[in-house]
């Protein structure tokens, strides 16, 4: 699983990292590669659940450009866990992932990153390399909060 990266002890699975593995990936058209990279991350996650000895899974959720990846690399790098970096903006998708973890009897932790200012996060969203339609921002921030309920 070359697209999973070990950061000290944690096994981090990031949908955005998988995009870089897709032939022809262009950050300017990141949205076109999102579905495929999400599928790749899901497969890698399943494999990690089955084959790794980590006893804990940490889901780091939050809308696009809320600071999830930076939080993982700065705060969770030494966790002895599988870390899934995802917006969790779909309740159904989140439920499926949680069930899979429960099935293999690993401990689940959920960390949600919420920006103090949506305008600031939107500017970060517009200025980063990976380009998505602005609807993606609205959808992921609204959806990830709804999933928490």
């Amino acid at each position: 699983m070359t697209t999973i990266y070990m950061n000290h002890q944690a096994l981090i699975i990031s949908i955005d990292e998988f995009k870089k593995q897709i032939p022809g990936y262009n950050p300017d058209k990141a949205e076109e590669f999102h579905r495929q990279s999400a599928k790749m991350a899901d497969k890698a996650f399943e494999k990690a659940l089955k084959s790794s000895e980590f006893a804990k899974v940490i889901f780091v959720s939050g809308g696009s450009a809320s600071g999830k990846t930076e939080f993982i690399t700065s705060q969770l790098f030494d966790e002895d866990a599988i870390i899934f970096d995802s917006t969790l903006s779909s309740e159904k998708g989140a439920e499926i992932k949680l069930r899979k973890v429960q099935k293999v009897k690993k401990k689940i932790e959920l960390v949600t990153v919420i920006p103090d200012d949506l305008n600031r996060a939107f500017i970060a969203f517009l200025n980063r390399d990976r380009k998505f339609d602005e609807q993606h921002f609205f959808k992921t921030h609204s959806g990830s909060r709804k999933t928490l309920l």
Binding site: E134, F137, S142
Partner: protein, 48 residues
């Protein structure tokens, strides 16, 4: 569940954990709900 608020300070993104007990958590989760339409409104109101 842990909820952290990201904010900019000293030119970098920083995080502060929300201090919540189980009772306050549910209330907090309700207060942060926002629809796509509301976010869009918030963004465009501020851009004008």
């Amino acid at each position: 569940m842990k909820i952290v608020i990201s904010h900019y300070a000293k030119k970098k993104l920083q995080y502060k954990e929300v201090d919540l007990n189980q009772n306050a958590l549910n209330k907090f989760l309700e207060t942060i709900q926002i629809t796509e339409k509301e976010i869009k409104g918030l963004i465009y109101d501020n851009s004008q």
